[in-house]
Amino acid sequence: MSSLDAQAPATHKGLHAFLAGLPGIDQVGAEARAAALGTRSIKKDSKLWAINTAISMVDLTTLEGADTRGKVKAMCSKALHPDPTDMTTPSVAAVCVYGDLVEAARSVVGNHIHVAAVATAFPSGRASLAVKLLDTAEAVTDGADEIDMVIDRGAFLSGNFSKVFDEIVAVKQACGTAHLKVILETGELKTLDNVRKASWLAMKAGADFIKTSTGKVTPAATLPVTLVMLEAVRDYYQETGTRIGVKAAGGIRTSKDAIKYLVMVNETVGEEWLTPNLFRFGASTLLNDLLLQRQRMLTGHYSGPDYVTID
């Protein structure tokens, strides 16, 4: 593998050659492996553990044009105490909002959980670098300790990997001490080979986390795509000794789905990644399904929508 200094801008040729040299992926085989992992049957204690873990990994998200301070504050209360009927419920890992609502979020969560801001002209990424950097810097100033940036998919698909790389490096710098999640927008990358390439590119450029999707494009997170990203993270760890996190965002609605992802993390990268520091779910409706399932496991009977709050 070529040695690429994550801090320095990459040579176009060197980066190209490196990405082209990554092993290919057989789509049918990868999908079959993801599906096979999905047949694990997780019951009883292991199910409760998985649900609690999943809750603690949620980045509770609202990213709508109609978001207001009120909406964000309500969601943040829920993020701190997801289930008012059971205060032993873990809080989520983070809240995820647009940059201009970071201050509102911080005012509710204090320092108890992370505040992640989407930045860099989310979701399209179509703006100048200067605009993207300003977007990032303002969110950090307002109190975001995590930044979820988007890569320039147009540049990636047209083969301009250096541009994608250099942007990530610049945004990482603008983050200061905030940790950087790089959204690949796998639904636009289309092929698993592209997902692998984009994952490596992002990791080499300094990402702390690689994230599947903005949630604004379908398909968002899927098991096969996340499998490929976990494999990249695993291989990166083998090579460098550094653990990068993975965030699966968008389209994960049920506890059953979430548990499949945890199984996949467990059997692909190992139990070291089964912590909010290294795996996250970007979700909104998922949290309530996790809470309903948790209630059922603890009370023994099926629960209902009236027993979980709307955020």
Partner: protein, 480 residues
């Protein structure tokens, strides 16, 4: 262990295992005259049931019943009507699928995940596929009026009991033959449940007869003069004995015997999927697969890192209770088979190959063998030549495609081969050169009733499945 999977057992309440079973002849269950034997659950060594043994008189009865059914009923039905019975059987197999899967795992030792997701669905699919051929034989390329052979004697192995039964019975019946089938002595239960399904489908009596017993019953069946066709799947040794037995008798014969398949990984393979292909190739069904990828041929340049990745992957395999839905590796089918695996792996060590297994908690009772890898294996080692029929992988290396071809083909077997590379032209070049009846490129262990299966060389002759598989059961009038 952060994420411990709690036991997730499939309930056995759905099966009703009788304490003893009779033979199934002429549409009825009837006691056999031989010495009854027991079948056990290889995961626990508990006796599941007592099984009848068919003696010579029983064999005679069964063949006579098949003959009568052929002459009086089955040969007089239209192909369309035969097809309808097969469709009924296929449907009932799907309806009773869970029951069949649980029973198969109890009797054979294979994980419920496999019997539920692979064995039973594909078995039902075989009946579905062949049902549709029954009234279209004149289009199959065997002449305008191909005829059945008559009575088929079919002997099947213990590794995929119900699936092997489907591979034999479905084409035989579709083409107009009647059958007498002997399941393996360690795995008779799903065949006997299949007999019940035949009753439920109102299949005319005598079209399918199931006689249980061991080698001697099989020998008597093959020997019977009123049998027109013999179909055998099992060990190469027994296959040769059967071929000798039918010499000079005009009985048609097809054999599906052992294998020692090469699974070839090039340096440009889609490596993560190749690892899955290796694991699937040799550890699926505990390696009790004739077409198992038991010889891993790694391109030398990637050998070390691939072996490391493989070892890491093997550590997520779960060995244990076959009825636990999370079990990946079940029990070895019998003490006999376990001893054979132990002997051969010992020879691997004695001959200087390096042995490795992931840490595995082995239950106290039952027959178990941890998935095992032997590295530094060469063509001269016994473990590179002989079929182990267990979860044991022998790893060899090669430098060039030509060398890979040479090593892959350097065996008296020729059942299957695997090729892993992203380069399209190389896939086809390699596939062309493999002397094997089934070639899996960038995949492994895929089966389908539409896809012909069978071997070259000492892996046997004849094909099962697809249009080619029909030929084994048809009589074509050749002028010369």
């Amino acid at each position: 262990m952060a994420f411990d999977y709690a036991p997730a057992p499939e309930s056995t309440a759905i099966v009703n295992i009788k304490s003893s079973y009779d033979l199934f002849i002429n549409g009825e269950f009837t006691p056999g005259g031989g010495t009854p034997f027991t079948t056990i659950n290889p995961a626990t060594e508990e006796v599941l049931a007592t099984i009848s043994e068919a003696n010579q008189a029983d064999v005679n009865r069964a063949v006579a019943s098949a003959r009568r059914a052929y002459d009086k009923t089955w040969s007089k039905l239209s192909g369309a009507d035969r097809g309808k019975y097969l469709f009924r059987i296929a449907r009932i197999m799907q309806e009773r699928g869970r029951e069949l899967a649980v029973l198969e795992s109890l009797d054979n030792g294979k994980p419920i995940k496999e019997s539920r997701d692979v064995d039973i669905p594909i078995a039902a699919a075989h009946f579905f596929y062949h049902a549709g051929w029954a009234d279209k034989l004149e289009f199959a390329g065997y002449g305008s009026n191909p005829q059945a052979l008559g009575v088929a004697a079919q002997i099947i192995p213990w590794n995929f009991p119900l699936l092997m039964l489907a591979w034999k019975v479905a084409p035989a019946l579709a083409t107009g033959n009647t059958v007498v089938l002997k399941p393996a002595e360690t795995t008779p239960l799903t065949a006997l449940l299949f007999a019940e399904i035949c009753q439920q489908a109102d299949l005319p009596p005598g079209v399918v007869n199931i006689i249980t017993g061991a080698g001697e019953t099989g020998r008597m069946l093959v020997e019977h003069p009123d049998v027109n066709k013999v179909a055998f799947t099992g060990s190469t040794e027994v296959g040769k004995a059967i071929q000798r037995q039918v010499a000079g008798t005009n009985k048609r014969l097809t054999l599906e015997l052992g294998g020692k398949a090469a699974n070839i990984i090039f340096d440009d393979a889609p490596i993560d999927q190749a690892i899955e292909g290796i694991v699937n190739g040799i550890y699926f069904n505990q390696g009790h697969v004739c077409c198992a990828g038991s010889r891993l041929l790694l391109q030398e340049s990637i050998a070390e890192q691939t072996i490391e990745s493989l070892k890491r992957r093997l550590q997520t395999l779960r060995l244990g209770d076959p009825l636990d839905k999370n079990t990946d590796i079940g029990a070895i089918n019998s003490r006999e088979q376990l001893n054979r695996i132990i002997d051969l792996t010992k020879s691997g060590e004695d001959e200087g190959a390096e042995r490795w297994s992931p840490a595995c908690a082995i239950p106290d009772k039952g027959f178990w063998f941890a998935p095992t890898i032997f590295t530094n294996v060469t063509q001269a080692h016994r473990i590179a030549r002989e079929e182990i029929f267990g979860p044991v992988l022998s790893v060899l290396t090669f430098r060039t495609p030509d060398e890979a071809v040479e090593k892959a083909n350097n065996t008296q077997y020729g059942l299957s081969a695997g090729i892993w590379t992203e380069k399209g032209s190389r896939i086809l070049w390699m596939a062309n050169k493999m002397r094997a009846g089934v070639v899996w490129a960038n995949t492994f262990n895929r089966f389908d009733p539409a896809s012909p299966f069978g071997g070259y060389k000492e892996s046997g002759f004849g094909r099962e499945g697809g249009v080619q598989g029909l030929g084994a059961y048809l009589n074509v009038e050749d002028p010369s």
